[in-house]
Amino acid sequence: MSLALIAAASLGAIGGVSAIILYGAAKKFVVIEDPRLAEVEAALPAANCGGCGFPGCKGFADALIKADDLSELYCPVGKEETMKTVAAILGKTVEAKAATVAVVRCAGSCANRPRTNLWDGAKSCAVVSMNYSGDTGCSFGCHGLGDCVFVCKFDAIVIDEETRLPVVDEEKCTSCGACVKACPNSIIQIRKKGPKSRRIYVSCVNKDKGVVAKKACATACIGCGKCQKICPHEAITIENNIAYIDDNKCKLCRKCVPECPTSAIIELNFPPRKTSEIQDTATN
């Protein structure tokens, strides 16, 4: 009996002393946080991807609270909804931003862009592009070793075995931009997702002159300017022998697509063209 009492008393004493120490420590070392910080952080997706440009979601939450104007800050993962929730918590307003997605601007599949040598080094695009032009004739295109896959935290990008090109999963892609930073050749770009995921873009970044580019890759942009001429919205510019479609100006009219002699302009998720339209382009 006494033994049990001693045990209970000593344990109780240890517990009591510990509780006092812990209480004291908690009081002494308390860090006063903005109560909204936890609230905002809870509203964020907790992906900690860094797509917003801040170190993790907590860093972003801190920035959101401190900022007067939320227009410069955007969470690419949570998108609109998250930003609206956050704005509601903070009593601020956000403007609607168009949904974006990562787009791979290279169509140099094995069929289009023949190999010229075999890469035998480390499986990293960054290592390849330090000194070599890659294992095809085009030194600007995709190396296909998957640095973008390695950095993607959402499993949204995979290398297609057949074409050796990365494929973006639209559903999973949060357009955080990690792959854009990882790609040594700056092939991947964050572009507007477009209504019903309809997009038109030039799938080539080759800055070589037309003849050289065409020799290396069947579907290279040769900078001929045909698309620029036909575009009614002045959305297409040509610089360094590559056409570029400004996704803010493009109205998705699709006139440039059949015009391209190398099929370098890609249209995505559009319904098939009417036969008359196809004939139209054929006569052109």
Partner: protein, 443 residues
């Protein structure tokens, strides 16, 4: 006991197939492609135009900064085009293409074979002549030589170290040069000593070249202040810092240049080029290139004009064998694999190595088994296994703390790794990413 460096090191098979084959002259190419950037530093500025007629030895591109180098026409002919041409790795870089009409030398160049031993010029004139002649480090690093001869304020050179080590397997161009142009090299060394104002010069030669050691000892026996030091056969004996450690027993501090310990290192090839430039007024337009490989029918050492396509050198050595899988510009440890055989010879091309499958194929990498062999062989005392992981994860603070910038890229770690891990690939990548960052922070 032969001298050597203290840390790490490996012993790859030497395979010096061409050590006993005297140098031959490679005929002029039909078209010479002169790269505008053949050296470390700023590219040279082109001073000729399309259609211009140029003579052999005439300047075609002037140095584009302090750390840069002049470039001369290696042939006489007409400038056909000035536009980017694919280099050995297939990357397009600016170049001057000259259609060759003959070998009509520019005026004022002494092409005779007679040895001029008397040094008439003072230090300033010598350095100016070296700079004018476009001389760069001939060992492969291609650092402009005149920069090394002008120590920064507050530093003075005490010793000249001449690198005749040639620790890379297969290559024999420096070896042959020492045997065939020994007297010229010795005069070149004396010129360099005058330029630096030093009293002592050491020629480091690995012990696998007894004939070169004997020849150089004989030539320098009567010269005051020049000493030949035979060195243990150990890679990377020819690394600048390793060579200074072996010969002078001084360690160049991390992040500093050899001048910090009062040493200047020059290659024997550079010494020869200095002789030609100062005594004969001849710019750097040709060099010895070793064309070698176990499967080549006639590997050889060739005097080659800069701008000659590599493919013609391989033709001269008996053509490309069936078994070829890799062609390397330079040695097997630090050279660069070529994807484009039409790339021209540059000032830094010390050899062309044609390799077959079993010698060169990389095996698939597996998990690190933590054997620590990479740490043991690293001549700079780094921890390659850790640096590789930090590099992949882009942990730049750890990389800097791990002294990744001290890596001399000798390749000993990748060579040794039993798990075939691509240690140097990632370390080099980290260096290229971290380097600009550190430089920006400093300025």
């Amino acid at each position: 006991m032969l001298k050597t460096f203290a840390l790490g090191g490996i012993h790859p098979k030497e395979n010096k197939l061409t050590a006993k084959i005297p140098c031959e002259y490679q005929p002029l190419p039909k078209e010479a492609v002169v790269m505008v950037s053949q050296h470390i530093g700023a590219p040279a500025t082109v001073v000729v135009q399309k259609g211009d007629e140029v003579k052999t030895g005439q300047i075609v591109a002037k140095q584009g900064g302090f750390i840069s180098s002049n470039i001369h026409s290696p042939v006489s002919g007409v400038v056909k085009k000035i536009e980017p041409v694919a280099d050995a790795g297939g990357v397009k870089r600016n170049a001057i293409t000259i259609e060759v009409t003959g070998d009509d030398w520019a005026e004022g160049i002494d092409r005779s074979e007679n040895l001029i031993e008397e040094i008439k010029d003072d230090a300033k004139t010598i350095i100016q002549k070296i700079s004018d002649a476009g001389i760069v480090g001939m060992g492969g690093a291609t650092f402009p030589s005149h920069v090394k001869l002008m120590p920064p304020p507050g530093k003075t050179a005490k010793y000249l170290v001449i690198n005749g080590v040639e620790c890379e397997p297969y290559l024999t161009s420096d070896h042959r040069l020492m045997l065939e142009k020994g007297p010229e090299i010795v005069v070149g060394i004396e010129i360099l000593m005058v330029a630096l104002g030093v009293k002592q010069a050491f020629i480091g030669i690995e012990n696998n070249k007894p004939d070169a050691i004997k020849a150089m000892k004989k030539l320098t026996s009567k010269k005051k202040g020049i000493k030949v030091i035979p060195l243990k056969v150990q890679y990377p004996q020819g690394g600048e810092k390793q060579l200074i450690k072996a010969i002078l027993n001084k360690e160049v501090p991390s992040g500093a240049l050899p001048i910090e310990v009062g040493a200047v290192v020059q290659n024997v090839g550079t010494a020869f080029a200095v002789y030609e430039a100062v005594q004969k007024n001849k710019p750097l337009i040709e060099r010895v290139v070793t064309i070698t490989g176990k499967h080549l029918s006639s590997p050889k050492n060739l005097w080659v004009r800069i701008g000659t396509p590599v493919s013609s050198l391989i033709e001269a050595a008996g053509g490309l064998p069936e078994s070829t899988v890799k062609i390397i510009s330079g040695g097997p440890m630090m050279g660069k694999a070529m994807s484009n055989l039409n790339a021209p010879v540059t000032k830094g091309t010390s050899g062309i190595l044609v390799m077959a499958e079993p010698d060169t194929a990389r095996k698939p990498a597996s998990e690190c088994i933590r054997c620590g062999k990479c740490v043991t062989v690293c001549p700079m005392g780094l921890q390659p296994y850790a640096l590789m992981v930090y590099g992949i994860k882009q942990m730049y603070d750890k990389l800097e703390a791990g002294k990744v910038m001290d890596c001399i890229e000798c390749g000993s770690c990748s060579y040794t790794c039993p798990a075939n891990r691509e240690l140097l690939d990632y370390i080099r990548l980290s260096k290229s990413r971290l380097g600009p960052f550190i430089r920006n922070r400093k300025s």
